[in-house]
């Protein structure tokens, strides 16, 4: 069981993810974009962050970079509905240095999510 912050602008997907994690007995809080996520991190520190990449306001990549700048070392799972790599100049290797422990491509099944959680929380 872990405290997880989910950041995603898609309400329906976010709802699904929250339900899926809650069913596996995790405690979930939500933010609708990176900016809101950073605000929430000022109040409490979760065990894990699951963030979408393409979002309005502060997107996932800027959010992850901001985490590094603020020395917040919470493990991160990056979720993307687009390309396989997070972006052309921000590949998985460099993302790992910044605390990205696993990536998930939408759509994914429950087992993919569970594997990513195990990997990120290890």
């Amino acid at each position: 069981m872990a405290n997880i912050l989910v950041i995603d602008d898609d309400e329906q997907f976010r709802g699904m993810l929250v339900q899926m994690l809650t069913l596996d007995a995790h405690h979930v809080s939500i933010a609708t974009d990176g900016e809101m996520g950073l605000n929430m991190l000022e109040r409490s520190t979760p065990d894990l962050i699951i963030t979408d990449i393409l979002m309005p306001k502060l997107d996932g990549i800027d959010f992850i970079l901001e985490l590094a700048r603020r020395h917040i070392s919470v493990p991160v799972i990056a979720v993307s509905g687009g390309r396989r790599s997070i972006s052309a100049d921000f590949n998985l290797e460099s993302a790992t240095l910044l605390g990205v422990k696993a990536t998930l491509s939408k759509p994914f099944v429950r087992e993919d999510l569970r594997r990513a959680l195990v990997k990120a929380l290890a």
Partner: protein
Amino acid sequence: MRVDTQNPKNPMRADLPRSTRESSTAPSVAQRYCDILASVALAAPDDNIEGQLTEAFELGRAAVDQGIPPDELTNMHHLAVMALADAHPQLGLAQIASQMTRPLMEMSMAYGLAFRQQMQSRYENMVNTRLEESRKLEAIGTLAAGIAHDFNNLLGSIVGFAEMAGDSFKEGEPGKYNIEQVLKASFRARDLVARMLTFARQSPAKAMAVDVVREVPEVIALLRASLLPSVELVFVAEVEHARIWADPSQIQQIIMNLCINAADAMDDHGSIMIRLAPLSDVSPQHAAGAQAAQHICLSVSDNGSGISPEALNRVFDPFFTTKAPGKGSGLGLSVVYGIVTSLGGNIKVESRTRGEQRGTEFKVVLPLLACNEAEKEEQHGEHPGN
């Protein structure tokens, strides 16, 4: 100025034979030239003929505007001279010759200038059209990437909720089966989106030695997920290896697009055959002991509905499609054509819309890496023989 008594209505006029005249009310270029020539030939040696020369110059431009080909000009001049001789037998050869070269020169010069300008502007139009097309493709790529992203988000919700809904049913219950179908359909949709992203990808191709024989099964695995189970996919390799110099994704795109096109030509049932066969091109310049250029022929044939002769002429045109709105972008085959050409190959298509041999076959011929190049690739070795 002389006056010709034989032709009182228009003393200058030497009419052309009927066949060369146009039916429109405005005099044709040929008729106008004939008039100019007559007017110049009948002028006294000290008459000012600048007006006629200017008109001849304008006529040259008009001839280009009207699409009159260059060799037609010579013919026009010849007919005008003949008509003039018929109408005015009293004219001496010396007079005709001395006077009529100037309007011919004026006309030819103007024609040449206008012709070059026309060529230039046609070329520019062509370049602009191609630029426009590539911009459209780029826009479609951006659009596809955006749509793919949104679709994957939606599929993310569908798959996740469906999985959780599945928990409410026991194994063997109809609800369980239904949820499995929702998931299966979602995964097919995911593969479709992935294919769309392949088109949207704008990164430049990275060429390497690729074995087409090994690429095909991978594409088939990807295709299998999105084609109906009732569509049969057969792969026949008549060669052990077929190494070419290309980006593997280019080969995938060629096969994928041709197969999708084949599947779309079927009513749920049918068979697609992918065949790799050797093709030796022993052209005369290779005869002198040198190695013949080796090619591989990749063919994709189907027993679908076939392509009509009218559509066959346009299959490779961008945005040309016979598929229902929303079913095809009209880009698949033009993408294939572009890739094949860039790899130094060629593509041909044959199709029958009726009869026992109904169906379509696309034949892609690609240049193989020369044997020693391929071996070098494998052995990091020496040049055999050389």
